[in-house]
Structures are given as C-alpha cells and as structure tokens.
C-alpha cells in the first residue's frame, strides 16, 4: 500500500495536485474496499463450500437450486438474513448486544490486511505481520464474550465463557507454533517468511525440519480451536448449548457471526500456507522472480504463432460439444422423446455452460491477435500477479477443505478434555518444537 501511494504520488500529476495525505486516504479507501469485498466473497464462498462438503459426506446433494451448482445460494441466504427482523431481547444489554458482532467482523477483516495475494500483492506488508495477526485474532474472543454476556441468556453465557476459556488457551500453542517459523526466518513479515521458503518443496517449513513439521500440526489444531470449528466447536455446541453465544441473535447480526467465522477459515488457511506451505512459492525449484521472464517468453511465442493454430485450439472443444449435442439429439429421436425426458434438453444447461466457457476461451485466444505486440507484457503481468495468487489460493483451499471435512466427520470434545488437549499436550509440544528448532538451526549452521 505504501509503495502504491508513493508511486501514484510521484508518477501522476493529479495526485501531486491533491496532496500526499489525500492520496494516501484514497488508496486506503480503495484497499479497504478490496479487503472487505474479498472477505465477504470468501465467507460467502465458504458457506457454499461447507454445504457442498456436508452434502458429499452426508450422502446428499447440498445446495443446487440457486445458480449453477448452487453457487449463488449464499447471496440468496444473505438477502434473506438482511430482510429478516432483527430481534433484540428486552432483557439484553442493548448497546453491547448490537456492537458485539461487529467486533468479530472487525477482527476478521483486519486480519486480511496482512494476508498476501502474491509476491507484489499485499495490502500492507507489516514488519510485525504475524504478531499483528495474533492480535487481530484476539478480537474474536472479546466479541464472543460480549455477545454471550449481553444476550442475557444462560446458554449464551455458557457459550461465551467456554469461548473465552478456549480461545485464550489455544492462543498460546498457536503463537508457539508460529514462533518456530519466526525463529527459523528471523522475520515476522508475511512476505519475508514466504521468501525464506523459496527453492522448492523441501524448503517449505512443513518439510524443512522435523520440528517445524510438528509445529504445523500444533498450529493447525490450535487454529481450528481458535475459530471454534469441530472438533473444538464447544462455544456453539448445538446439542449442548443449543447455539451458544449466538442463541439470541437473528437477521444480519446472526449472519455477521457466520461471516466472521467463515472468513476466519480463510485467515487460518492463509497463515498456515504462509508459514508452513511456502505461501505463493511454487512446489518447484523455480524462484518467483523467474516467473515474469517465463511469461515474457510465452507471450513472445504466442505472439509469433499462427492464427490457424489459435483457431484450431478453439475448434477442438467446439467439435467435442457439437458431438455431445448430436449424440443427445440422436438419443431423443430414437426414443421419440419430446421436451420432457429429452436428453438434449436435460443436458442443455450443461452444454450451455461448457459452451460459454469455451466461447470465453476462444474469445481470449482471438484477443491475442490484435494484442500481439503487447502479449509479452500481458503474460509477464499474469505470471507475476495471477499465477502466484492462484498457487496461494489453491493451497489455502486445500487446507480449508480439511477444516470443512473435519467439521462433518468428527464428534466434538468435552470442555475439560478440550482444555486438557491444549495445556497437557499442545503447549509442552510447542515449547519442545521451539527449543528443538533452535537446536536444529545450530546443528546445521
């Protein structure tokens, strides 16, 4: 963000005219908009993904009505939540009750500031990035306690107390596991930690030493506990506390809890990817700085290649589609099927979607022709910005999938067992890893 402000200020006369501080303010606003939208979209996407994963494990389908494959179900749910009546219990502590969900949202949204999207793409690469993340994570517990207390409901109170005990305890192993990585890299900046893992799979902290390998699992378990997911979802244990801290909430305030919860899944996945899985580094011995030149080369190649080849590329999928449609049509004619029961009609939506994808692909390919001279630049930008983001995002999604998968597979622990796991196993293990990592580094130095 700072770089962007400086760049805009030095390069564009417009920004020089309005002054440095207003420029910074504009950039800040833009960044906030990006972060909040990304956060909202991610938590929406996670609600979709969670329900799909639930469907797969529960041997049912999951959302499939709104949009293709139920993809925009979360928007329908969001609209529903906004339209519902926001009930505040008469006995509740009104102001705190209203304020608590926003505290949760704030904590999660602030975490997104230091989450990298790519080597040159981060809102703010703070030099205390990881520490900052731990701090913003602690907003959650305040929000949950306030919600539990202000609801003036005994179940909510129990939920709030459980979450307080749980989150405060699990922050310790969480921090210890991250400290192992900080010890190994000597920096707390998110980008710094990722850069330290350059050079292939065996440089990732998951694989680079036995102690950081262990630390990854400590981090993963305690992070899941921090965001109240199964098997550590005791603050909202449905079968015990009905709904826990959010029992009295309705409408969008209720939605806010879940937006924060699902946003948090991305945050913990992103931190796990950053600290242990090499962030946006490819699992190949390719430096990320070499990606730009690769794009450059590809662009040059495509720029020189023939029109015919591009058309051929577009023709292949088109033939496939036509073949599929024809087969369906023949099937219908043979069986004298009309509209109902027609395969052609039944697969029409599928064909349409595939057709749109291929048409988009074809259009993209066609666009290459006029942009021939700019292709190296375009591909350089794609390889510098989009590819690392995709790498990062894919890894984060894999981690998130495990989180969701656990949610629908495991039973939950009892509250005393939960504390036992933290204080008896994770914290001693965390200290062991920290000391061990120091020893390991001394051994190899």
């Amino acid at each position: 963000m700072e770089n962007l402000v400086n760049e805009l200020f030095t390069k564009f006369r417009l920004f020089q005219q309005i002054g440095y501080v207003p420029t910074a303010a504009v950039v800040m606003l833009a960044c906030a908009l990006v972060v909040l939208n990304f956060f909202g979209l991610m938590s929406g996407f996670y609600t979709f993904l969670e329900r799909k994963v639930a469907g797969w494990t529960n041997s049912r389908r999951g959302p499939n009505r709104v949009g293709p494959y139920g993809l925009v179900q979360f928007m329908a749910d969001g609209v529903k939540l906004i339209l519902k009546e926001d009930i505040i219990p008469a006995a509740a502590d009104r102001n705190i009750f209203k304020f608590a969900p926003y505290l949760l949202l704030l904590g999660t949204a602030l975490s997104f500031v230091v989450i990298p999207f790519g080597p040159k793409w981060i809102i703010s690469d703070l030099n205390i990035g990881v520490l900052y993340l731990l701090a913003t994570g602690s907003f959650t517990v305040v929000g949950l306690i306030l919600a539990g207390w202000a609801s003036n409901n005994k179940w909510a109170l129990l939920g709030g107390m459980r979450s307080a005990a749980q989150i405060v305890s699990y922050e310790i192993p969480n921090a210890l596991a991250i400290l192992v990585v900080v010890l190994a890299t000597g920096t707390m900046s998110m980008q710094g930690i990722i850069r330290a893992q350059a050079g292939g799979l065996h440089h990732w902290f998951l694989f680079s030493s036995p102690f950081s390998f262990l630390a990854f699992f400590i981090y993963f378990v305690s992070a899941i506990a921090e965001i109240n997911r199964v098997p550590f979802d005791i603050p909202e244990a449905e079968s015990e506390l009905v709904a826990g801290y959010n029992i009295e909430y309705s409408a969008m305030r209720f939605g806010a809890f879940f937006a924060a919860e699902f946003g948090n899944i991305y945050v913990i996945s992103a931190v796990a990817v950053t600290c242990f899985l090499g962030g946006w580094q490819l699992p190949l011995p390719v430096e990320v700085d070499e990606l730009g030149p690769i794009g450059d080369t590809l662009g040059h190649f495509l720029g020189r290649s023939d029109v015919l080849m591009i058309l051929l590329l577009a023709a292949l999928p088109a033939t496939f589609l036509a073949w599929k449609a024809l087969r369906a049509f023949v099937w219908d004619v043979r069986r004298k099927r009309t509209f109902f029961g027609s395969r052609f009609v039944r697969f029409h939506s599928e064909l349409l979607i595939l057709g749109l994808i291929f048409a988009g692909g074809g259009l993209t390919l066609a666009l290459h022709l006029p942009l021939r001279s700019h292709l190296p630049t375009i591909y350089r930008l794609i390889f510098e910005y989009i590819v690392p983001f995709l790498v990062f995002f894919t890894k984060a999604m894999l981690i998130s999938f495990v989180v969701l998968w656990w949610r629908w597979t495991l039973p939950r622990l009892r509250v005393d067992q939960l504390m036992g796991v933290c204080w008896k196993y994770l914290i001693p293990l965390g200290f062991f890893c920290l000391v061990g990592q120091g020893f390991w580094m001394w051994l190899w130095s």
Binding site: N58, I234, S239, E240, L410, L413
Partner: protein
C-alpha cells in the same frame, strides 16, 4: 480442587436439540458442573391409557403406533399379544413369522435412529444422515408391506393385516446384504473414533444394582451386565424356535454400564436382529396370514399382564377387563419411562455435555415417556 461459585438454574428443554422431543430437565449447575438434574415429564401426554378405555379393543391398535413412533411394529405386537392371550385367539404360523420379521426389522431401524442421534448429540452430524439413509430403505419395505412409513397399524388380533407382497423377501434379503457391511462401516466411522470413545467411556456409569433398583429394561439393563431378554427368557410368538444371542455389556471398552456400553449394545443387537431376520426368511411357512374372526371381540372378565421386548426394553400391557368390548383399564409400562427415573440419580455430578450423552445413551423417546 474445583472452585465453587454461585449456582444457577438452567432450564434444558422442553425445546432443546438433544432432548429429541419435548422433554425438560431442570438443572442446577455450577458453571458446567451439574449439581442437581431433575427430569420434568408430561409435555407429550396424550392420555393414551384413557383413550384405551373409550374405544373397542381393535380401535386402539392405531394408538399403539403413536406409543413409540420409532418402533410402532413392536408396540402393535405387544398390544396384539395381550389381547390374543386375554381373548384366546389363535395365530397362524405364517402370521407369527411375519410378526417377528417386522418386529426385528423395526428394532433395527429404531436402533439406527438411536445410534445416529447419539453421534449427532456428540457433535458428529454425518453418521445420523447415514443411518437415516439405511432406515429409508426399511421404510420403503414397510410402505410396500402396509402402506405406511412410520405408524404402520399392521398387526391385527389373530394375524397381520396383509400378506407379504410378491418378492418382498428377496428385497429384504438384498437390504440385509447391504446392511451388514454398513454396521462395520459405522464402527470404523464412529464407534472406534477416539474422540467419541473419549466422550463416552466411563461417563454416567449405572451399576447392575442401580439398574435393577430403577427398573431399567432392555438394552440399558443389559449394558449394565444383567443378562435378561424377554425374547429368550419368556419367549413369545416364535422367538423360542429362533437361535440368537443376547448381547450383554462386558466392559470390553471402558466400564460396565457406562454410556459407551449402552451404545455398543445397540450395535450388537442390530447384528442379532439381522440374524433373526435371516432365520425368519428361511423358515417362513405358507398358509393363512390372518385368523380373522367375524364376531365382535369381547374379553372375559379378568386381569392380564403381557410383556414383550421392544427396542427400548420391556413393553408391558396390563389389562383389566370386566367383560364387554372395551377394557376397564389398560396400563402401559414402557422402557423410556423407567429410563427417565435414573437420570436424576446419575445426572448429578456430570457436566452438561455428559448429561446430553446420558440422555442419548438411554435412548429416551418422549412420547413413550408420557404416553
């Protein structure tokens, strides 16, 4: 040493996800720790016993479906046997085998619900949907048999309402072939799960003496190590001709009479029910399925008590007849009712989460408690 703080009264139910129906528990807790737990029943009281006095004998059969809606066949069977003994009605052999077949099938799906909701109360949602998937299949079979999926009203005095449809036994055998490996799958999925065991082993232990004192029946009693099953010890219908084992808790995992043994007994009973079903299919005789009487049913004056083994334990019908077409009094003893009485004894001293496990392990069904 636990620090004592101010206690609070926590009202669990009548609407609560883990009470599965309208049950209420009044808890006095110190934080998570329960000092006193008192069940409050009666929210689902429909006066079934009073209704029985108002209607002719045969008209009460549909009400027994509602006695325990998860095991309607077993309730039908218990009531039918009571009236048959009182009015001395003969039952043809084919009908007897069909009755045992449907009763055991109903036991399986009742235990499936029990196991599934148990897992759900422990926080694992998926086993519930899997057990319901299997139950759906049996529901389809029952629908084929008598047109209903939940409240069957299938068994009649002197037989059953309909004969087995064409190919029913083949479809049943296909289901059993599918179902037996599923049990192993449940064990891998949930019974052997570390967290699940951690939650249940050694929790809410009921000693054999306590189980007898509080009249626990059925799987809950056997889980406490008391070898008592009416199907074997007081055989009714054709159970005497069938070979099956009665699983009894032996504390192979955890303590005798803890929540885990009550859970495990139900898994073992499902295996035995499959065994009984296979024998029934093999031995199924030909012949009439209903010894239908044209006369209006009347019972001679007298007192009769008949008990049968329903999925939730002993189901007893105590009938006082003063002659005529209606009973003078019909008292129903159910397993869930006696299971509720021990909650107060065992529940205090547990944590809130353990109480949920205790209720789930007793497999209490609200309508059977209140009747």
């Amino acid at each position: 040493m636990p620090l004592a703080t101010e206690t609070m009264v926590l009202n669990m139910g009548p609407h609560h996800p883990s009470t599965h129906g309208v049950l209420r528990f009044i808890l006095r807790t110190d934080g998570e720790l329960i000092h006193m737990c008192r069940p409050d029943i009666g929210y689902l009281h429909r006066g079934l016993e009073k209704i029985a006095e108002q209607v002719p004998y045969a008209h009460f059969m549909p009400y027994t479906d509602r006695l325990d809606y998860l095991a309607a066949m077993n309730c039908n069977l218990g009531y039918a046997i009571t009236i048959e003994r009182a009015a001395e009605i003969e039952v043809p052999p084919r009908a007897e085998y069909i009755r045992v077949l449907v009763a055991e099938l109903n036991r399986i799906i009742s235990h499936l619900i029990s196991v599934g909701t148990f897992a759900m109360d422990m926080g694992a949602v998926t086993p519930f949907t899997h057990t319901l998937r299997e139950r759906e299949w049996v529901n389809d079979l029952f629908e084929e048999l008598c047109g209903a999926r939940l409240t069957y009203n299938y068994i009649r005095f002197g037989g059953v309402a309909f004969d087995l449809p064409e190919g029913f036994l083949d479809r049943l055998s296909r289901f059993l072939d599918y179902f037996e490996p599923r049990l192993e799958q449940y064990n891998r999925f949930i019974s052997k799960n570390k967290i699940f065991k951690e939650r249940l082993v050694g929790v809410a232990v009921i000693s054999p003496e306590e189980a007898l004192d509080y009249r626990l029946v059925g799987p809950n009693l056997r889980a406490s190590g008391i070898d008592w099953d009416l199907r074997r010890d007081e055989p009714y219908s054709v159970y005497g001709d069938l070979a099956f084992d009665v699983p009894v808790g032996v504390s192979e995992i955890g303590e005798l009479g803890d929540c885990y043994s009550r859970y495990w007994i139900r898994i073992l009973e499902m295996e035995q029910s499959v065994r009984i079903l296979r024998q029934c299919m093999e031995k199924m005789p030909e012949g009439p399925y209903w010894n239908r009487s044209k006369k209006k049913l009347k019972v001679e004056p007298g007192e009769f008590y008949v008990r049968t083994e329903a999925p939730r334990g002993e189901l007893g019908f105590y009938l006082i007849s003063k002659g005529g077409i209606k009973p003078h009094r019909l008292k129903i003893m159910t397993g869930s009712f006696s299971a509720m009485s021990i909650v107060e004894k065992v529940g205090s001293g547990l944590m809130v989460a353990d109480l949920v496990a205790l209720i789930a392990s007793l497999d209490v069904v609200a309508p059977e408690v209140d009747r």
